[in-house]
């Protein structure tokens, strides 16, 4: 042993007194406690209130409400419709979405870029606008497509928008891009060598599809179907716009009706909400189980592989035409119809004669409508506010989940994900129950909408924040701590800037979905807190389609500009590549 080193205990005197004992809780602990409180309040209080309201009557705890709610005439039919609608639209969206994703990832079909556009744009177009423009494409008497089909003698293909099949078709098309994105990711993650080796073993292409490709993506496919079913159960716009006039009721429209009637039927609304909630929770728990099992199927290896496209041969062009039709139907037709509607004082089926009455008058009339200006203002404030709040909050929660060492940190992620299973309308019902009696005077203010939006979009913010945080190496943060930065400094000056691309993407996403939001807002707005989607709803109810369309076109253009600008900026924010 050298002079440098002394055996332990030989040289060193007793330890000097610790200069500072750890009495006060650490910063991380305080941050975690605050986050847990806020999360718990946002997520758990609506659930608790909803259940409590549903299971109590004037005399106390009882199950009487359940019986009462399901004894209302037509409730059996309503439950049947709900399932038919949810499964039907899931079938439509899964079949189209999966087929397109397959052709897009695995084959050499041309026109693929159209599909990327087709998967992004429906995200931007609010559901209510999509549905309304489809009314003018597919309704029995004035629907453009139906006119066309009758003119060419294909009467048997005519579907009425105001019917269950029409609702299924339209909602299915609106969901298809979501399935496309899910399946796109799944197909990209499976190694094409597995298919190639099947082909090399002598299997034909259809055999390979059936015996190799499909089994490999089966977990993802099952997940996509279930998510679509859950979405179908939650869907409000289509059942409200198309179902109510057709007297085809589902859970969401019944809840809406119960709260809009006089006297207000809170009991029925709460029981139907609880039922719907149980269904969506069950569905999503099932999805989670599938995903967990799917991990065994994962064929993503460390090695990168470039999927080599299959040659479709003579089928290239038919498949491309399919792409074209899809793009036309899902993206182009609804948007063009909206533009057309906005140019006419009252709706006419497109024709040369109708061209004569085209004018921009509707656009000038937008602002003369009472409440539109304040709705634009409200929507902007809410979208900016909730996007910023969600992303800031979720960045911290993601940090707690992924990087902190507090016990039970995974729990944060779980709570923040719960609202995924909370239909917007159900959240609205629960918030009404809370704030009608809460001493907090926010009922009828923007604050209640703000709470609803934050709660609904937390899970999405969490996904964006945690996936970008996962890519930030812990050492980057450790070195900030070693440099003397406290928790707050290292979070603000190192972690946040490095997460910026993900935060920005999540911010745009939450902005867009907040502006589109209808199903919670429709229950929570008051006369001076209207938002854009509610104004559109009211214009629709009043039959003012021209102004509605003009406002819709304005919204879509503004949202697209927002996306374009932010993605352009996104290149300059955050990490500079070497």
């Amino acid at each position: 042993m050298t002079a440098l080193l002394a055996a332990p205990g030989e040289v060193t005197p007793d330890l000097p007194r610790g200069e500072r004992r750890r009495r006060r809780p650490s910063v991380t602990f305080v941050v975690a406690a605050v986050c847990l409180l806020v999360l718990g309040y946002l997520v758990l209080s609506p659930l608790v209130y909803l259940v409590w309201r549903g299971l109590t009557t004037g005399e106390g705890l009882s199950l009487a409400n359940i019986g009462a709610a399901y004894r209302v005439s037509g409730s059996a039919e309503m439950v049947g419709n709900s399932f038919a609608f949810a499964f039907g639209s899931a079938a439509v969206s899964t079949i189209t979405g999966t087929a397109l994703a397959f052709f897009c990832t695995r084959t050499n079909a041309p026109l693929k870029p159209l599909l990327y556009a087709a998967s992004l744009i429906p995200l931007i177009v609010p559901g209510i606008l999509f549905t309304i423009s489809w009314v003018f494409l597919l309704s029995d008497d004035i629907g453009l497509i139906n006119h066309f089909l009758r003119a060419v003698g294909l009467d048997f293909l005519v579907v009425d928008a105001f019917s269950l099949p029409g609702m299924i078709l339209i909602d299915g098309m609106h969901q298809a891009p979501l399935v496309f994105l899910l399946m796109f990711a799944a197909f990209r993650a499976t190694d094409p060598a597995l298919e190639e080796s099947s082909l090399m073993s002598g299997a034909t292409l259809p055999q390979t599809l059936r015996r190799v490709t499909l089994p490999l993506v089966r977990p993802a496919l099952a997940g996509a179907v279930l998510i679509s079913v859950v979405r179908g159960l939650e869907s409000f716009e289509t059942p409200a716009v198309l179902g109510i006039p057709a007297n085809t009721w589902v859970f969401t429209s019944r809840i809406f009706q119960a709260l809009g009637s006089y006297p207000v039927k809170y009991d029925i609304a709460s029981i139907y909400s609880i039922t719907l909630l149980l269904l969506t929770v069950a569905g999503l728990l099932f999805v989670q189980r599938i995903n967990r099992r799917a991990e065994r199927y994962q064929t993503i290896s460390g090695k990168g592989f470039r999927p080599r496209p299959m040659d479709l041969g003579a089928w290239r062009w038919p498949v491309s035409i399919l792409f074209g039709v899809y793009f036309l139907v899902v993206v182009l037709l609804p948007l063009l119809m909206l533009v057309w509607m906005s140019l006419l004082p009252f709706y006419q089926v497109p024709s040369v004669k109708a061209l004569g009455s085209v004018s921009l008058e509707n656009y000038t009339r937008i602002f003369s409508k009472p409440g539109v200006k304040s709705a634009i203002q409200n929507s902007t404030i809410l979208a900016l506010g909730s996007a910023t709040a969600v992303m800031l909050f979720m960045s911290v929660v993601a940090w707690l989940t992924l990087k902190s060492k507090i016990p039970g940190r995974r729990f944060f992620d779980t709570i923040a994900s719960v609202p995924l299973a909370l239909p917007g309308l159900v959240l609205g019902v629960a918030l009404i129950f809370i704030y009608l009696r809460s001493p907090l005077p926010i009922y009828g203010t923007l604050a209640i909408l703000f709470i609803a939006y934050i709660t609904r979009y937390m899970p999405y913010g969490m996904r964006y924040a945690s996936s970008s945080l996962a890519q930030v190496s812990t050492e980057l943060e450790d070195s900030a701590r070693m440099s003397g930065a406290g928790w707050f400094d290292s979070f603000r000056r190192v972690v946040m800037p490095l997460m910026m691309p993900g935060i920005l993407a999540g911010w745009v996403y939450v902005m867009i979905v907040s502006i589109r939001e209808l199903s919670s807002s429709i229950l929570l707005y008051s006369s001076n807190t209207r938002v854009l989607s509610v104004v559109i709803w009211e214009l629709w109810a009043n039959g003012e389609t021209g102004v509605l369309a003009a406002l819709g076109v304005g919204m879509v253009v503004a949202l697209m500009l927002l996306v374009a600008v932010v993605y352009k900026l996104g290149g300059r924010v955050g990490v500079r590549d070497a």
Partner: protein, 381 residues
Amino acid sequence: MLQVRDLCKTFQDHESKAGRVYAVDHVSFTVEEGKFFTLLGPSGCGKTTTLRCIAGLEHPDGGDIVVADRVLYSGKQKVVVSPNDRNLGMVFQSYAIWPHMNVFDNVAFPLRVGKRRRTPKAQVRERVERALNVVELGHLAGRFATKLSGGQQQRLALARALVIEPSLLLLDEPLSNLDAKLRESLRFELKRLQREQGITTVYVTHDQSEALSMSNSVAVMQEGRISQIGDPFSIYLNPENPFVADFVGSTNFIEGVVVGRQDDGWVVRTPNGPIVVSAVMGVQENDRCMVSIRPEHIEVLGDGSDSGTNCFSGEVAARLFTGESMVYRITLPHGELNCRTSAELRFASGKPVTVHLPVKHAIALSPKDAPVRAPEEAAVG
């Protein structure tokens, strides 16, 4: 300067019975002011964990850490100083250069946060420039950090650690991400810097030549424990156990039994005949032992040229030309030996030779903690 006593750190492990495994198991050492201390050991032996405990980035389960008479951690006294208050400099294996800042801002960061946040601007500038000049990056101050080469990033990380004038510098394999040539030159650079700045340094590496060439003293770690502490010479020349002998450099092991003293050495009985060794470590007369002798110390002679002490005849099984030397594998009647000789000496495969194991380089070690090896490499016996 730095005292670490009985440091322990466990991690959860669902496979082990106790549910926890020791990553650092009662580690103690002391580093004097201005010295360069190295933790050396194979992958997973707990070097990084030890360093991170000193840094405050891991929370130890017990022990004491004292730097310059200031208790940074004490399990008994329940003292935990958070990493940002420890005033230590650290360079990470990945360098952890912040990609959203330029070179200047990276180095200035420590002066702009925490307790030092009130450093006047002019002083920040002056200190950053001084730190950058020390590592010869002054001319790149405005460049974006991600645009630097690997070696430059490494020096930038060093400048950032030095700018706060830390009481202790912690380096976690700072050279392992670089190519061989650069590694060699930065080794000298780092050593020069450390000596010029007179900064006490704890260095972590799994590269034995790095450890031996740079350190004032080396601690060899194995499975969370310190196997031997000493200066580079004693670690290399007088390993106290077979693990150190084998990990630091390479060695041949020959199993045997200690017979007794002879002159100023000891005699060990082996299947190939008696071997005289210069020292025994942890074994006594009649104990089983492992004779350790390094390949470069074995002399390979022509057939029948000598039959004195520690000479054995064998046959060349294979040879390997590495440029600077020739490596032979020589079969003895019982087992094999690896020998490294100068490149001029050439014996063809299959040629009978005599090997001489110089007494002063042969030592007998306790077989207890012998490293486990693949069968074909197994000790000669």
